[in-house]
Symmetry: C2
Subunit: 338 residues, 2 copies
DNA sequence: CTGTTAGCGCCTTCAT
DNA sequence: ATGAAGGCGCTAACAG
C-alpha cells in the first residue's frame, strides 16, 4: 500500500540508504544520483513515514502546549504564536486545555500525550505556588506565565514593569486619579498581584496618593466582570480620570460602560488595558494597551524547549519578554492639565 | 534509558507478549499474571511507547483539525468540543490554523502533518465552492461547515432552519420590523447566504414584508463590524423593533450600540444572535442566541472520521446538527402588541 | 492462557 | 559516495 524507501530505492536502482540520504539532505550525494532518486520519489509519490523516523530517532518531533483555555483570547493568540514559532523550527504543537483546573493541570503533566511529545510548554493557572515540586518531571519542560516558578526554564512577561509603564502612560496624559480593575486581594504572586504592584509603584513614583476606592476587584478577567467593576466604581461616585484594566477584556468591559454612561473617553477618562489582544484594535474608541511581547515569549519558549530536547543541561533560565505601550484612541488625546 | 516491555517481562517473569496483553486489556489473562505484570510496570515506571505501537499498527492515533482561526470564538469553542470528543474516543487532535486564506487551506490538505494524522476534519472558509475537486484526497476526511460540499462526509449546522427559527422567535415576541446584520451580497452558499435565506423565509411565513433597508452588510463577522452596521442603521433613521445578528459577535456589537444610544433592549428592540458563544452569557443584557449543536457536530464529525479510518466505504454522508433557540434577556420580555 | 517469530519503515553503524 | 545489516519498541499471527 504505502510507498516505502525500499520501493524508491528499487525504482532508482540505488540502496535504501542513498534514498535516506537524499530525503535528509545529506551533503555527499552525487548530483546525478540525487536526481534519479528525486525522480523516483516524485513518480511513486513517496512520502517519508514520520512515525518510523520518530521511532528510530527516539523523538516525535512534537511539543505539547498545555494552557488554560482557548476561549480566553490571550491564550488563543499565544497558541497561534507558539504554533508559528514551532513551525519555523520544524516541530509540531500538540495542544491541551486544562480548563484552569488544578486536577487537569496535574493530569497534563502526566497524560498519555506526554509520550507523544518531546517536551512540554506549560502554562498553569490553578496550581499553587507551593506545588512547585510537581514540576520536577523527567522530560523537557518550559514554564510560561507567572503563576509559579520552579526548577525549570521559565518565560514570563514583565508584569510589574509593564503595569508600571501603563499607569505612568496615563499619568503622562494628565491623569491624577487612576482606577485599577481586576485586583485579586490576597494573591501573593500571579498576574493580578504583579500588575497591581506595578500600578502602585507607578503611583508612588509619580507622587500620587494611593486610594483604595480606586481599586476594583474582578475574579474572572472577562468583559462582563470589567463592566461590572466599572459600574460599581461609577455608582459609588468614585471620581477618576483614568482606568487601568489588568487585561484587555476588563478594559473593554469598562470602556463599554463609560461609553454607555456618556463619559467621554479619553477626554474625561483615559483607559488602557493589558495584553494587546486583537479586539483592542476593533473597539470604539480603539483601546490602548500593553503589548506583552507574545511573539517573543512564544519564540523564546520554543527555542528553550528545543535546546533542552537537544540535551542541554545548563542551569534553569528565566527570560522576561520586553513589552511595549500601544497608545490608541482610548488614551491618546492630551488631557486637561491640573 | 527507557523502560521497554522486555524489561517489564523480565521483571515479571513472563514473555513480552503477556505484557502487551496486559497493557492492552486483552481479556484472556489470568488475574494473578495480570497482577504480577502490573506490579512490574508500576515498580519500573514503564510507559507504553506510542510511536512504536503506531508504527506497528500503521496508525498514528491522531486526527487533524484544520480551521480558520482560534481567535474566532466559534472556532475556539469548536476546537474545544472536538478535542473533548476525540479524547473520549481515545484519539488526539492536531490543530492547524489556515487563517481563512485559500492558499493555507490548500496547504493544510497536503501538509507534512498529514503524515502524522490518520484523517482530517476540515473547516474551509476561503476555498471556493468550485474547487471541490481539491477535496478528493487519499486519506479519510470529514468536512465541517457550509462553505462547500464535496464527495466526502460532511457535518453542518441547520443554517437556514435555525435562522428561520431565530427570526420567528423575534416575530413571536411581537417584532414586525426585524433588521438583519452580517449579509454578504452576492454569496451563493456559505453561512451568510444561508442565514439570510432563513431570515427571508421566516418573514415570508409570518406574512411580513421584506425591506432592504433592514439589511446591513458586514464582511468580517466581528463585534466591531456589528457595531458599525448597527450605527449605520440607526443613523439612516431605519425604524426597527428587532435585530437578528448572523453571529453573536455581530449581535454583541449591535447590542453595545443600542445600549449606548439609550435604546431599551429588549423593550424597544429585541436582539438575537447565532452560535451561542460563551460571551453571550456575559453581556448586558444577556444575549439570546441560536445554539447550533456544536457538541453534536464535534462528536458526529469525530465518529464519522473514525469510521472512515476504520475503513468504512459507505457513500459520503451528510449530517445536519439539531439546533436550539436560547432565549435570554435580549429577546425575553413580552413586546408591545401591534 | 502464554510464548515465539517476524516484521512495521526508518536511520545508524560499519564497510567498501 | 554508496551498500548491508541490525534494531528502535511494539503487536499480529501462530503455536503450544
Amino acid at each position: 500500500m504505502a510507498v516505502t524507501m525500499h520501493d524508491v530505492a528499487r525504482r532508482a536502482g540505488v540502496s535504501i540508504k542513498t534514498v535516506s540520504n537524499v530525503v535528509n539532505d545529506y551533503p555527499h550525494v552525487r548530483a546525478e544520483t540525487r536526481r534519479r532518486v528525486q525522480e523516483a520519489i516524485d513518480s511513486l509519490g513517496y512520502r517519508l513515514n514520520t512515525t518510523a523516523r520518530n521511532l528510530r530517532q527516539g523523538r516525535t518531533g512534537m511539543i505539547g502546549l498545555a494552557l488554560p483555555e482557548l476561549s480566553l483570547p490571550y491564550f488563543a493568540e499565544l497558541a497561534d504564536s507558539v504554533m508559528r514559532a514551532a513551525e519555523e523550527r520544524g516541530v509540531v504543537v500538540l495542544l491541551e486545555q486544562t480548563g484552569a483546573q488544578r486536577e487537569r493541570e496535574l493530569q497534563a503533566l502526566d497524560s498519555p500525550q506526554r509520550r507523544l511529545t518531546d517536551g512540554l510548554l506549560f502554562s498553569p493557572l490553578a496550581l499553587e505556588p507551593e506545588e512547585t515540586d510537581r514540576l520536577e518531571v523527567d522530560y523537557p519542560m518550559v514554564l510560561l506565565g507567572e503563576r509559579m516558578f520552579g526548577p525549570v526554564d521559565h518565560v514570563t512577561m514583565a508584569n510589574v514593569e509593564a503595569s508600571r509603564a501603563a499607569t505612568l502612560h496615563l499619568v503622562e496624559r494628565g491623569c491624577r486619579r487612576i482606577a485599577v480593575i481586576g485586583a485579586h486581594p490576597g494573591e501573593t504572586m500571579g498576574s493580578a498581584r504583579l500588575r497591581f504592584d506595578g500600578y502602585r509603584r507607578a503611583l508612588a513614583e509619580a507622587g500620587l496618593p494611593f486610594d483604595p476606592d480606586l481599586v476594583a476587584e474582578a475574579g474572572l478577567w472577562h468583559r462582563s466582570t470589567g463592566a461590572a467593576a466599572m459600574t460599581r466604581l461609577l455608582d459609588a461616585g468614585t471620581v477618576m480620570d483614568g482606568v487601568f484594566g489588568m487585561n484587555d477584556a476588563l478594559a473593554l468591559g469598562a470602556l463599554h460602560v463609560l461609553h454607555s454612561r456618556g463619559v467621554p473617553v479619553p477626554q474625561d477618562v483615559a483607559v488602557i488595558g493589558f495584553d494587546d489582544i486583537d479586539d483592542a484594535r476593533y473597539s470604539e474608541p480603539l483601546l490602548s494597551s500593553v503589548a506583552p511581547g507574545r511573539e517573543q515569549i512564544a519564540r523564546t519558549a520554543v527555542d528553550m524547549l528545543l535546546e533542552r530536547i537537544e540535551g542541554s543541561t545548563v542551569e534553569p533560565r528565566r527570560v522576561v519578554a520586553s513589552f511595549e505601550i500601544v497608545a490608541r484612541e482610548s488614551s491618546l488625546l492630551g488631557r486637561r492639565a491640573h
